[in-house]
Structure formats: structure tokens, C-alpha cells
């Protein structure tokens, strides 16, 4: 494996025997469902897996959850808090698991964090260098679902839209529905820009769970030769 840029001091990526599979997509894109299916699929074939995601580090997840409740963090501070959370999981969970030959399933990775920061006005080069510590995944699946479908799925599940997933902090609109639609379009645009650079495998998530999972597992099988 290799790092995007500077990487982590003291870690030799050549010694990482496992595989890193990343799933990106908005809330309501079917990400978690597909992750569960993928886990079953891999374990069924005898591969050991580890799950990681955002805001799950021992170091700062509590603080991040607290901060999410109120508007107490500035933009750069929030970016760095998320980067710290990511780095902690990268070093303390992802790297050790890869060393031990596990398949690491990442429910979101640096791309979501980068897109969120950039949409909020962060400098592209700054963000790119910040996350230059990250490992290049073996496969990144981007589940794209149209904003219209996302709204329907989110409302069906929670009967409400999440403040952050609607990007309400950006002040795009005071109406949460309008804000959600505009914000998701901005994020998707950012993902389209990143898609070429980072080589995402675009999967059309506007389809049934089965149709999506069939395409996804086929990709995993073919690309990882597992």
C-alpha cells in the first residue's frame, strides 16, 4: 500500500498485508446496509474484517459528538477535530488491522471530510495536504443517490432531516428542505471533482438494495481478487 502524500511517521506502508475498502455516500444512500452485506459476503468467504467510520476514535469522538450539538467550533477547528479523529483511527485501528492481514471496511473516509471542508470554504490545497497522511484505499465505492431520493429515504427513516446533513450551518436557506437539496448538490459536485483524481468507483444508488449489492460485490471480487 502507499500513502497519498507525507503519510505517517514510523509506518512503512509496504508492510501492510490487508485490504482497505471504503464506502462513501450521503446519509440515506444505503451505505450502512451495503456495508453489512459486504461484511457478510467477505466473512462468508473466510476473510476477517474490521469496521471503521467517522467519529469513532477513542481520542476525540466524545468531544466531536458534544460539539455537534451546538455551534461551538470554528470552521478550521472543526476540520482539525475531524482530522484528529481520522488520524487516531488510522493509526490505532486501520494500520494495525492491515498489518494483521484484515480487510478493513471504512464507512466513509477522508473524501467526505474533504468535501465538507471545501464546501465550507476551506482551501483545497490545505485540505489535501492535511489528509496526505491517509493510506490510498484498494477500492473506493461511491454510492450516488439523487438529492430527491435522499430526502425521501431520510424522511421515511427519521421523519426529519439532520441539521448537518442539510448543511444548515452554511446559511444556504432558512428552510431545511431547500437547504438539504442545495447542500447535497454541492457535496455531489465536490465528489464528482474528486472522482477522477481519486479513482472512485461510482455506483448508482438509486436502485434496489439487491441490485446495488450485486454490482458492489462483483467489483470487490474482481478488483481485490478475493
Amino acid at each position: 500500500m502507499k500513502f497519498y502524500q507525507e503519510g505517517l511517521p514510523g509506518v512503512d506502508p509496504a508492510h501492510l498485508a490487508g485490504k482497505l475498502i471504503v464506502m462513501e455516500g450521503a446519509d440515506g444512500s444505503g451505505r450502512s446496509t451495503q456495508m453489512d452485506i459486504l461484511k457478510d459476503f467477505l466473512e462468508g468467504k473466510g476473510h476477517a474484517t474490521v469496521n471503521v467510520g467517522l467519529r469513532r476514535s477513542t481520542l476525540v469522538s466524545e468531544e466531536l459528538n458534544e460539539a455537534k450539538m451546538g455551534n461551538v467550533l470554528g470552521e478550521i477547528t472543526r476540520s482539525l477535530f475531524y482530522a484528529t479523529d481520522f488520524a487516531d483511527q488510522l493509526e490505532n485501528r486501520i494500520v494495525p488491522a492491515l498489518k494483521a492481514g484484515f480487510v478493513v471496511l471504512a464507512d466513509r473516509y477522508i473524501y467526505t471530510l474533504m468535501a465538507r471542508d471545501i464546501v465550507r470554504g476551506a482551501d483545497r490545497d490545505w485540505v489535501r495536504s492535511l489528509y496526505g497522511i491517509a493510506l490510498v484505499p484498494d477500492l473506493v465505492i461511491y454510492l450516488r443517490v439523487s438529492p430527491g431520493q435522499l430526502v425521501e429515504r431520510n424522511l421515511r427513516k427519521n421523519a426529519t432531516l439532520d441539521y448537518w446533513e442539510a448543511g444548515m450551518d452554511l446559511g444556504l436557506s432558512r428552510d431545511i428542505f431547500d437547504s438539504f437539496m442545495q447542500y447535497q448538490k454541492l457535496i455531489q459536485k465536490e465528489f464528482s471533482l474528486m472522482q477522477r483524481e481519486y479513482g472512485f468507483h461510482l455506483v448508482n444508488g438509486n436502485r434496489s438494495i439487491r441490485a446495488v449489492s450485486r454490482e458492489m460485490t462483483a467489483k470487490v471480487e474482481q478488483l481485490l481478487e478475493i
Binding site: 502524500q5 467550533l73 495536504s129
Partner: protein, 226 residues
Amino acid sequence: MRHSGSLPGKLIAVEGLDGSGKSTQMYLLKRWLELRGLKVYFTEWNSSLIVKKATSKGKKRQLLTPTTFSLIHCTDLADRYERQILPLLKAGYLVLCDRYIYTAFARDAVRGCSRAWLRNLYGFARHPDLTLFFNTPLPIALGRILSGRPQLKYHEAGMDLGLASDPYESFRLFQERIYHEYLAMTDEFSFVTIDGGAAIEEQQAKVREIVGHRFDLPSYRWKTII
């Protein structure tokens, strides 16, 4: 992304080793400016309330790697920068920072982080209008800290670098490396060097002379009448 345009306020930073005497000098400088009726704000490294809990948890449980150590301290500065330092500078304050980005450049580079990555990471923070570097001969600085045989904390002693198994020896080696990093940055960042081996009064007279000469101090007086 470094913002360099002039602001109404001025940023003054002190840098130097533990035991270099910089905090004493900064305190005396602050008193002098305050007693002249100027708008002064003092802030120190690693003091943001939101980040503090995470930092102490990470340090206590030894969860920190060079990268997360660096990121969490950067988050601390970002929080203070976005909420205090920058707004205060815009409001025409003299902002005094006990340790600033160069502390991170020196320490984290010694811990193995890439210098280019560090400089980008802290790219959101403007360079000070004046950086005073307290150049205290290593034996003097070490003597001030070690004379009481204090209980050195794990990271303070640089034990995470594995330079020596004895904390005192580790501290010595760690400080020596930091000292050399500081010296190497002196020209690049236009440090004004103060002889930290001189008597307290002598140093303070020098500091006040430099500050009085560099800035038009009367223009930082309170403008509101209480």
C-alpha cells in the same frame, strides 16, 4: 492560504525551550503594557477548553502518536485563533502568545512529522508581527527544570521518542533536538533573539525596548470611556 494583510492589532509571540524564562518575560511584558492602559490579551499554548479534555485523555492513556499529538495541538491553536486571537487582532489588540506555531514546528519535527506537512497544517495562522526567541543555553534551561528533580510527564520528557529509558536523560536529549530546530528556524521566520542567560531585569529592559521601538504603543490605548 496564509493571510498576511495588515490588521489593526499586533501579534507578539515568545518561543524557547522549557525553562528558557520566556513565560516570566512575557508576564512582565504584559504587566508593562497593561499598566500603560493598552488593549492586551494573553494566551498560552494548549489552553483551549474544548480541546483540553481530549489532549489530557490522550496523554494520560498514551494514545497519542506523533501525528495525532500534532493534530490535537493544532486543533487547540485553531480554536483559540478563530475565537480569540483573530477577532482581537481585528479589534486592535496587542495579542501575546506564549508559544505559537514554531513550538509545533520544532517539537513535531523532532517527533518525526514532515516539516512541509506541519507548515501547511498551520497555514491558517498568520505569522506574528514580532517573535521573541529566548535563546537560553541548554544547561541553564535544563537546570531550571531539573533542579528540583520534578516528576516529568511522559510527553514532556519526550519518552514517546524512545531516546532513553531514563526520563531525565530522555528530557535532555529531547530538549537538545528542539533547541537545534529553533536555531535552524531563526532566520527563516525572523526571530528576534533574546539572551535568556542574562538577568531577568536586563532581559525585560531589552524586551520592552524592542516592543516600544517596533510598535506605536499609544495607538493601542482603549478608545472607549468607562
